[in-house]
Each structure stands twice: as C-alpha cells, then as structure tokens.
Amino acid sequence: MKALLLKRLLQLITVVWGVGTLTFVLMRSLPGDMAYRIAASRYGQDNVNSDAAALVREELGLNQHPLEAYWHWLTDLLQFNLGNSMVSGLPVIESVQHMLGHSMLLAFAGLMVSILIAIPLGLLSAWRGNPLDSVLMGLSSAIRAMPVFVIGVLFVLLFALHLGWFPVAGYGTFAHLVLPAVTLALSLAAVSNRVVRDSAKQTFRAAFYQFSKVKGLSTWQTFQRHGVRNIAVPVVAFFGIQLVSMIEGIVMIESLFSWPGIGHGLAHAIFARDIPVIQGAALAMGVVFVLLNTLVDLLCLWIDPRGVEQ
C-alpha cells in the first residue's frame, strides 16, 4: 500500500515536471522576440517600439539566462502560480477550476451510463452464450472501429439535426449533457463489455463456482456470494487502463459539443497559442489522471486484498 502510494506520488511529480518543461520549451520556441510580442499585446500593435520592449523585458526578467528562467518557471509552478491567460487576461487557475468542474460532470455522467450499458450486456453475453454473445461482440467491434468523434457526429446528425430531440452543442441544461455523455459512454462501453464478459465467463467456469452450485446454492446466491467480487477485480483494474481513453474521449467530445471543459479549453488554447492556459489545462488533466489511477489502485486492493495484479 505504501509502495503503491509512493509510486503514484512519484508519478505526480513527473507529471508536473514534464508538463512544466514541455510548456517552457514551447514558450521559448515561439518565433520572434518575446518582449516585443508581449508589448504588442499590452500596448497595441502600433505603439510598440524598442523602448516599450525593453521596459517589458526588464519588468518580466526576460533577459535572464535560459536555465535561470527555467528555474523560475518551475518554482512558479510549484507555488501554483500559473499566471494569466494571454488572450483573456484572466488568472489561469480560475478558468482551469471552472473547466475542470464541467469536465468532471461529463466524465462522471459518461462513466455511469457506460457502466449501466457494459455490465448488464457483458453479463448477459457470458450467461447466455451464443448466438447472443456473437451478436453483442460483433456490435461492440463495429462501434470500436469508429473514433469517438465519428460516433459523436453521427449522434448530432441523427438526434439533434434530424429528430431534434437534443441541442446540437452547448452547455446549460440537462438536455445539453445527454448527447456528449452518451457518446462517451458508448465508446467506453464498447470496450469494457468485453472485459466484463471475459471475466464473468472465467468465473462461471471456475471450479469454486461450480462447486457452490453443486452444494445447493441457488443461481442467484452463487452469483451474489461467489460471482460479483471475482468478476469485479479485472473490471475495476481495466478501468484504470480505460482512463486514458476516457480522457482522450473527453478532449474530442468537448470540442465537438462545445462543452466548456478542460479538453475544449486545451484545444482552444493550443489553437490560440495561449501558453499559460495550455500549461494549466495539461497540468490539470495530468494530475486528475494520476489521482484517478491511485483511486483505482486502492479500489482494487479493497476488492481483492491479496494484492493488485500488475
């Protein structure tokens, strides 16, 4: 347990360092003199001269040695001093908090719906076997071949433009949440229903499971006593693997549906080359990623105290 937490802590530090370094390189590799660029965005394109640039350079310490600047960059980062957006001028930390909240809502809703789809379908195909099993597996293969944004576009075309049941994009009411969450859920469930099915099949075939039936427990009792926990371990562990596709899915879905979350913010910031926001958004994603991974580890340990399989 201690080793596990220590490993995750190290990972957290690498995330902060990695994102910080990458964005520092990014900042430095932008074309043109930084002082002129900042002066231009402060005083307007027409009022920039070398005096204004020198003033900015002096004030922001832009004439530091690169290593010194790198050190300042990292120490700022450790104090959560993420600076202000270059576009809106608002503090990055506030907008990241906002975006994170919206993303969490979407992620949670998507995850819940995907669990509601994947677990019953996975158990059903393990329980019933062929031909239902083949049909469900074929369906999930077909959905898996579609990138998240293709599923999203198809949903928009069908449910928003043709049927008009839900708004095309945006944020605010519950109706706005439905399409993004279902898109995310479907793309997650298409993979995880296989994991549920495999895990359930293995458990149903296991000797201890057969024995508990033979000794006279009813089907439901056997499932409840001997099935649930054993099936759950690989499923929960798989969720840790699926976190990656969940975060990637969120980036795509938020951009598609204009959901004001962290992925949408990141894509916009990259397009606008708004480096403080890029750093803030990437950092938030990385930190959430590590924290959720830790949570999954702990959950696995709780379900199966014999130790987490790697």
Binding site: G18, V148, V153, L161, V244, M285
Partner: protein, 260 residues
Amino acid sequence: MTLRASQWAGLSLLIGLMLFSVLGITLSPYSISQQDLNAILVPPNADHWLGTDHFGRSMLSRMAHAIGLSFALGILCVVTSALLGTALGVTAVWAGKRVDQALAILVNILLALPGLVIVLLFAAIAPGSFWVLYIAISLVQWVEYFRVTRAITQGVIQSPARQSSNMMGFGTWYQFKRHIWPAIAPSVFTLAAFGGANAILTMASLGFVYVGIQPPLAELGLMTVELFPFYSEAPWLLAQPLVVIALMVFGFHLLAGKRA
C-alpha cells in the same frame, strides 16, 4: 505466419484503400487545391467521381491524398515505434539492471500523461507539421512495444535453450533471431496492427480539433470539420471521410486478429 480468414479480410480492406489512394493520386486530373467555382458541392458525376466540396475541389483527389497521408503516418509510426520499442525492450532485459532502471524511469514519465495530451502539447510547438505529429505519436506508441517485449524477453533470457546457445558461443544477433524473436513476434505483430489504427485515429482527432494538419492539405479529420457545415446540402460529402476513417480502423483491427 499464417493469417486467419478475418485477418485476410482486414488486409484486403487496407490494400484496397491503399490502391484507391495510389490510383487516385496518380490518375486524377485534379490537384487537391484546384478549384472549380462553377461546380460547388456537386454530387458524384462523370467528371468528379466523388463530387466536389464547398470550394469546388475534387473530392476524389482529396480523399486519395488524405488516405495516403494517413497510411504514410500510420506506417511510419508503426515501423519507428516497433523498432525502437522492441530494441529497447530486449536491451532492458539483456543489458542488466542499470539500463533497465533508466528505461523504466523514461517509460514512467511517458505513461504519466494520456497519449493524446502529449501529442497535443507537441502539436502546440509546431502546428500543422506532419513530422512533429510523427515524432509525438511514435514517442507515445513505442512504450507499448517496450513493455510487452520486456515482459516476454525476461522469460526467454532465463530459458535453458537460450543459455546453452550462449555457452556454445553463438552471437547476440543469432540468439535474438533464434530464441527471442519467435517468442515476441506474435505480440509485436498484434501491437503493430493496433498501433497503425491508433496513429491514424490520433491524426484524425487532431485534425478534427483543428490543431493537426492545416488547410489546404487534405486530412480525414480536418475534412470532417470542413464538410460538416454543408451536411444538409451535401450529406454524401461528409459521409466520405467518416466512412473511410471507420474502414481504416476496422481494417487494422481485423488484421490484428486478437483484441487489445
């Protein structure tokens, strides 16, 4: 290596798409940026077999170029990351604990962030650059090969067969070819097929959020966004990139045979 029927189906699907791309690039009389403003959003006809887009550009040429670009990136990324990952994976086991630990640190840094976020950050450094995308995607993907190769090689290195080969004085390359490669080849092959699909998906995803390949180049994700506003006038245009992306990914998944 013998392929199963479904793997043959996947392979033929991919070869078919590749042929379409090569023939389209070489035989189509239109370039990807050549406009015909008298023929905007026309349905497929004798002149423009797949119709034209909102600037009157030939969709056939654009689709052929986009598919070619996707395959080029997919294959480059697969070859690079497979070579790098396999070589480092075998080295990590063979070269002893120090090297292994150093590589483990590198891998943990790369695994600390979701792949798409790393690629997005790289894309921010040089927007619209094919080569930056290639480097970023390969950088993310080699880790998979590394982990799998390392795990399998650990068993093979200890095997009596490999050790007696070593004691009989066979060279490093022979030992790799004779003992290690047969053990890791099936896994590397499966990973490569999924890796090809993922590379193509990643490029399309970046194009879709407008930070990947930039206009006027043709790219599947980018074309999806460009053609989306014209959905009600010309649904057949939007369908083309969507169907092709799904076919490409499906082809690679079939080729992989096993599932991830």
